[in-house]
């Protein structure tokens, strides 16, 4: 089976017949963008998203002057890169956590099974406490074996309080009761760790809809695994429709997944990425930098190595 070559190499191959003079023609651009589309899909960008993205890049690339210092390949790549950064949110303020409501501000974490919600809840608590907040974590997963114990263990490690109720309690009640508890304990941020669920599981989706309506969280964040493939779009759309997401957190970015799912989710739902997680340790939470993800989606180092050679 054909292996995936680096995008820059392939683009250079395509443009190798070109003199490097004049303007980029439609044929040149089309050929190059076919490669870009494949690279995006290889990076797990959704098929439809990749197609729309390439269409937008095409408008910008055709007729662009071929500049002296950049080869046509480099030029196409740089347009692609800029456009990626733009779609991923640029320097948008939406990328920041909003905790400007009356305390306690509630952050609700939702997502598929195993995406990293519980671990992320603890990392967020750790992060917010360092910023001077007093967080409370809430164990609202009554399904997964030892889910409550997992959050309690993390809470103990961080010395962050955890609100929990005995097995069999109703997750909606747990969340509601936790708010009163937060007030009592003078905690100004409440992080709800909900159970993992499939976007097509109606009963489970109704549970988070009820929690959302009852608690009115300031932030409802989708915790999404960076390794997610083509279905990321559908998952995000379904969660967004159910609970009106205010952001997402992209997890497991310490691996070598290219993270194209984030581009898909952002461009289809408009939901901004607010954080990335890069490990299992409690400090492995980072603010989101669109430019870093862009070059990663294009194949790490691709853009850099091209510019170095220019």
């Amino acid at each position: 089976m054909a292996m995936f070559e680096s995008l820059s190499k392939r683009l250079e191959g395509i443009f190798s017949n070109l003199s490097g003079q004049g303007k980029l023609t439609e044929d040149d651009v089309n050929a190059a963008l076919r490669e870009v589309r494949i690279a995006l899909i290889e990076a797990d960008v959704n098929l439809k998203v990749a197609r729309q993205f390439v269409e937008r890049v095409k408008q910008k690339a055709i007729g662009a002057d071929v500049m002296g210092s950049l080869s046509p390949a480099q030029q196409v790549l740089s347009i692609v890169n800029e456009e990626l950064i733009e779609v991923l949110g640029g320097t948008d303020d939406k990328n920041k956590l909003d905790l400007s409501g009356a305390p306690p501000n509630v952050i609700m974490l939702v997502g598929l099974q195993g995406a990293g919600k519980t671990t992320t809840a603890a990392k967020l608590a750790n992060y917010l406490r360092k910023q001077g907040s007093r967080p409370l974590m809430v164990a609202a997963d009554m399904y997964r074996p030892a889910a409550v114990k997992q959050l309690q263990t993390l809470g103990k490690q961080l010395t962050v309080p955890v609100y929990s109720e005995p097995m069999g309690a109703n997750p909606v009640d747990i969340c509601a009761n936790s708010i009163a508890y937060a007030r009592e304990q003078a905690c100004n941020v409440v992080i709800l760790d909900t159970a993992g669920r499939l976007n097509i599981d109606e009963r489970m989706m109704n549970e988070i809809i009820t929690i959302r309506n009852r608690i009115q969280p300031r932030e409802v964040l989708l915790v999404a695994d960076a390794m997610t493939g083509q279905e990321a779009v559908r998952v995000a759309q379904d969660f967004n429709q159910a609970v009106s997401l205010t952001g997402m957190i992209l997890t497991k970015m310490d691996g070598d997944a290219r993270g194209g799912a984030a581009l898909s989710i952002r461009s289809v739902t408009g939901v901004p990425v607010k954080f990335m997680t890069v490990g299992e340790k409690m400090d492995a939470l980072e603010p989101f930098y669109p430019d870093r993800l862009a070059s990663r989606i294009l194949g790490m180092g691709d853009v850099l190595s091209l510019i170095e050679r220019a």
Partner: protein, 289 residues
């Protein structure tokens, strides 16, 4: 609409048009089959259309299903020990893929088949990972050998093998911490666990099963390759097939590594583990929801 339209299109189209090829390509890519494998399949099919003088869309569809099934290889069941009385199954994979849950499901399945099963809580790292396995053990009525959090997983496995031998267990299933294939130290730790098993059970582990989440995209192949290279794999379990994801990476994984897929996970309950069947997997790839 774009998704999973293949079933329709190919049945309804009687001639082989450019549109047909585009639709084929799209359906495969949308199912996470990946550009490399998709290209290869389309090329292969075009060649077969020529050679076999195919004329209709349904012929192409049949050929595609054949090709896909042949990439997956034959179905394959669990391998049991021949030399030793104890079969050891080591379960590995990246974080959150479904290892612990799949172990509970296998334990349930094997006990119902009359095997005496023992579990080893080899994930001593993740918060409450030991409690999670213990709770599963209680639910399915299978004992769990564990130590304290943060103890050496190799020591846990050593203990568990001793216990299995004393108790006369038939099957020992070892849970391990989730680890990304890119983490050198964690991959070394896995090699160590593997060595401990081999030291006491020379022909073991009899199964090295990698667990992959069906919602994973193209990274699945990189993961599988690295795990195969570093410790070797005898099989794959694809979990979360009850999601809308199709797990199309399975074709590249099975073909590239020559490793069979043994089970699929279809839910969070102990019964939700079914032996892998290539034909139904291919059918599900094109299923409408």
């Amino acid at each position: 609409q774009l998704f999973s339209r293949l079933g329709n299109t190919v049945q309804e189209t009687d001639t082989i048009t450019d549109d047909l090829w585009d639709e084929l390509e799209e359906s495969l890519l949308a199912a996470d089959v990946g550009p490399g494998t998709t290209d290869w399949l389309i090329e292969r099919l075009r060649q077969r259309v020529e050679e076999e003088h195919m004329r209709t869309g349904s012929q192409v569809q049949r050929a595609l299903r054949e090709e896909l099934a042949s990439l997956l290889g034959p179905s394959s069941s669990l391998r049991f020990a021949k030399q030793s009385p104890l079969t050891v199954i080591l379960v590995i994979g990246v974080n959150g893929s479904g290892k612990t849950t799949s172990i509970a499901k296998m334990a349930y399945r094997l006990s119902r088949e009359g095997q005496k099963v023992l579990l080893a809580a080899g994930d001593t790292f993740r918060a409450a990972a030991i409690d999670q396995l213990k709770e599963w053990g209680e639910r399915v009525g299978v004992p769990v050998i564990s130590q304290h959090p943060n103890s050496d997983p190799g020591a846990v496995v050593y203990d568990a093998i001793q216990a299995a031998q004393t108790r006369g267990s038939d099957v020992l299933i070892v849970d391990t911490a989730g680890r990304l294939h890119t983490k050198f130290n964690l991959m070394e730790e896995l090699k160590k666990i593997n060595k401990v098993i081999q030291k006491f059970i020379p022909d073991g582990p009899h199964e090295l099963l990698m667990v992959i989440d069906a919602t994973t995209g193209q990274n699945a192949l990189l993961q599988a390759r690295k795990f195969a290279e570093d410790i070797g794999l005898t099989g794959v379990i694809i979990t979360k097939m009850d999601s809308t994801a199709k797990g199309g990476f399975a074709f590249a994984v099975a073909d590239d590594l020559g490793v069979p897929i043994k089970f699929i996970g279809t839910g969070e309950k102990v019964e939700n583990l079914i032996p892998f069947d290539p034909q139904s997997f291919v059918t599900a790839l094109f299923a409408q929801e």
